[in-house]
């Protein structure tokens, strides 16, 4: 029964190909737009999610306080108010997983004939844990290297590419500010950070080495910047309060007094960004959905015309025994077929457009099965919803009036 009706619906559509095509067009564009927009939105979300993931999760940054010289206040991290002992104390907190005091700087790196200016960071071994950063070759440096103020280094991917090319850098010696450093290992690629920096353009050396041999420090044992990893997302606020209380106690600052350090919640910053892209992709999807509705109205419009045109045919069918629901089903099937085929074409065009966008622009697009499935379901629903009224109109015709219709 259904098979016979499907065949009939198919031939009815084939009888007026241009009109069938135009009817579909609205839906094709609508579905295509939804798929494309969701792909772009998903792409932005993925980009942010990946950037946030490479930064490391559940992170705080603790900065030392600012100095005031002649009334001019410098920014955070200029005064030597945080010590390595502070870092060790923070690491003891139950809500904290790891602490990584860090010293930043830039230096020229030379290997053979190649050289490259890059960020050389002094870190402790816990830095890799805090940043969730693996090595792809070699070994990390250890607490022993830190105590020995060893001239050892871990290289980021960009540095390896710029300085070594295809050569294996492990166990080679590079010169940083004219001193030799043994390359212990190579860091895994991390890509862009969520603020757009190349995270792979970096060299890690022991913190002590950076402070004493590379940059020098007027205040030995101090640090201006440290990253703190909380045990879990739930422990974040507990950890923030604990760090604040601990540092105030150690620095002898009352709870109401002005702190000589700053704690920043990096995950919160990332969350805001993720939220923004999510809202953006929802809005893109919503705008595209409007075109689906317009496509649906197009279907209803044409189906109404079709019902009027085929009134006599409906009359004939009723005269030879079609029941109300036979007619209803026939017209519903027709609008359903139109919308499903229109949807298929729309999905194909949408995916093609998404691929084109990612090829032509630098934009990341992600086509998900969920987006396609969703577009499909919505289109089918649109077909049934907007096809129902014309179908009911057809089914409610009186046999004799339909048959007399010229």
């Amino acid at each position: 029964m259904i098979a016979g009706m499907l065949r009939e619906a198919w031939s009815a559509m084939g009888a007026n190909r241009l009109r069938t095509f135009l009817t579909m067009l609205g839906l094709v564009i609508g579905v295509g737009a939804v798929v494309l927009m969701m792909a772009i939105g998903q792409g932005a979300q993925t980009l942010v999610r990946e950037a946030v993931a490479t930064m490391g999760s559940n992170l705080f940054i603790v900065l030392s306080g600012g100095t005031t010289a002649g009334g001019a206040r410098s920014g955070s991290g200029t005064a030597p108010t945080l010590t390595l002992a502070d870092a060790d104390a923070i690491a003891e907190l139950s809500s904290v997983a790891a602490v990584a005091p860090t010293q930043f700087g830039n230096a020229q790196l030379v290997y053979g004939a190649a050289n490259w200016n890059t960020q050389v960071m002094g870190v402790t071994p816990s830095y890799l844990e805090v940043r969730e950063w693996r090595l792809v070759a070699g070994q990390p440096f250890t607490e022993a290297d830190l105590r020995a103020v060893a001239r050892v280094a871990l290289l980021g991917q960009t540095v390896v590419k710029q300085v070594f090319g295809d050569e294996d850098p492990v166990d080679k010696t590079v010169r940083i500010r004219n001193s030799p450093y043994l390359v212990l290992g190579v860091l895994a690629p991390k890509g862009q950070s969520f603020d757009g920096r190349d995270q792979d353009d970096t060299v890690l050396v022991p913190l002590t080495t950076a402070q004493r041999k590379l940059y020098g420090s007027p205040f030995p044992g101090t640090v201006r910047f440290m990253m703190v990893k909380a045990l879990s997302e739930e422990a974040m606020s507990r950890a923030e309060r604990a760090i604040d209380a601990l540092l105030r106690a150690r620095h002898r600052i009352s709870p109401e007094g002005e702190a000589d350090f700053t704690i920043r919640n990096l995950s919160a910053v990332a969350d805001v960004q993720a939220q923004t892209t999510r809202v953006m992709s929802v809005m893109l999807g919503a705008v595209a959905s409007v075109s689906l509705v317009v496509g649906g109205i197009g279907i209803m419009n044409i189906m109404l015309v079709s019902v009027t045109e085929r009134t006599r045919e409906i009359g004939i069918r009723m005269a030879i025994g079609a029941r109300r629901r036979d007619i209803l089903l026939q017209f519903l099937l027709e609008s359903l077929i139109v919308s499903v085929i229109g949807c298929l074409i729309g999905v194909i065009l949408g995916v093609a457009a998404a691929l084109l966008v990612s090829r032509v622009t630098e934009m990341t697009v992600v086509v998900t099965a969920v987006a396609i499935g969703l577009a499909f379901l919505v289109a089918a629903a649109v077909g049934v919803f907007f096809g129902f009224y014309p179908a009911r109109k057809a089914a409610d015709l009186k046999p004799i009036e339909a048959l007399r219709y010229q």
């Binding site: 009815a12 006599r312 009723m318 005269a319 030879i320 025994g321 029941r323 109300r324 004799i400 048959l403």
Partner: protein, 246 residues
């Protein structure tokens, strides 16, 4: 006059049937107090001038329209008590229609046209095609099974329509001016086909026409004038005496 009176249940029993249309000028009566019975196997011609109510009468017989008052029993079923779906079923299984304008579906092949009532009867596709082919063969058009109606002549189209009307083996064949669009030679071919069905298969036939020439094929002639039965007669020697008519 009513020769089969008491014998069996009539196929059609109509009692005090009224039909009126509501118009802006008030109710317009079309049929007034029509009562008659038609026995199984009869071949009845319904005649009358335009506006006499004969077409409305046919539509009510065919369950396409309903009476304003009065009773219409089809094989003992009171049609006024049936739902739309039950009437559709009755049209599908008990009644075959042949129209003046053929009323084939223009985009369906002859085979699909003939098979269409079987689709609504829920017959599986293979049996549908086989049965439709049989019927096309019976009207002598099996070799055009895959053609669209527009490719064959009017007389051939009417044969296809008759095949479609018969595909569900109905008890009652209703023909509303079946020859109105055909030339006289073709008309007689069609009428011989219909008369043959009546004679060989005992299908009850009710035929509306305004041509006496066509009505002479019937064995009983009912005249409508102004919505009432004006005369209801069985020609002395059915089909012979009427040959004298112009």
């Amino acid at each position: 006059m009513d020769r089969a009176a008491a014998a069996s249940t009539p196929l059609i029993l109509i009692e005090h049937l009224h039909k009126q249309y509501e118009t802006d000028a008030g109710p317009q009566p079309v049929l007034r107090d029509v009562s008659l019975r038609i026995e199984p196997g009869q071949f009845v011609a319904v005649m009358g001038p335009s506006g006499s109510g004969k077409s409305t009468f046919m539509n009510i017989l065919g369950c396409l329209d309903v009476a304003s008052s009065g009773r219409y029993l089809l094989q003992g079923n009171d049609t006024s008590r049936l739902s739309g779906n039950e009437l559709a079923r009755l049209r599908n299984r008990f009644i075959g229609f042949v129209f003046q304008g053929f009323n084939l579906l223009p985009r369906a092949t002859l085979l699909d046209n003939v098979a269409l009532p079987l689709l609504y009867a829920g017959v599986p596709v293979r049996s549908r095609e086989q049965r439709a082919r049989e019927l096309l063969a019976r009207v002598g058009l099996e070799r055009y099974a895959g053609y669209l109606p527009s490719r064959i002549s009017g007389g051939q189209q009417q044969r296809v329509a008759i095949a479609r009307a018969l595909v569900n083996s109905p008890r009652l064949l209703l023909a509303d001016e079946p020859t109105g669009n055909l030339d006289s030679a073709t008309s007689h071919d069609i009428m011989r086909l219909i008369a043959g069905l009546n004679a060989e298969h005992g299908t009850t036939v009710v035929l509306v026409t305004h041509e006496a020439d066509i009505a002479r094929f019937a064995k009983r002639v009912i005249h409508f004038v102004d919505g009432v039965v004006d005369s209801d007669q069985i020609p002395a020697a059915a089909g012979l005496a009427s040959r004298a008519l112009p």
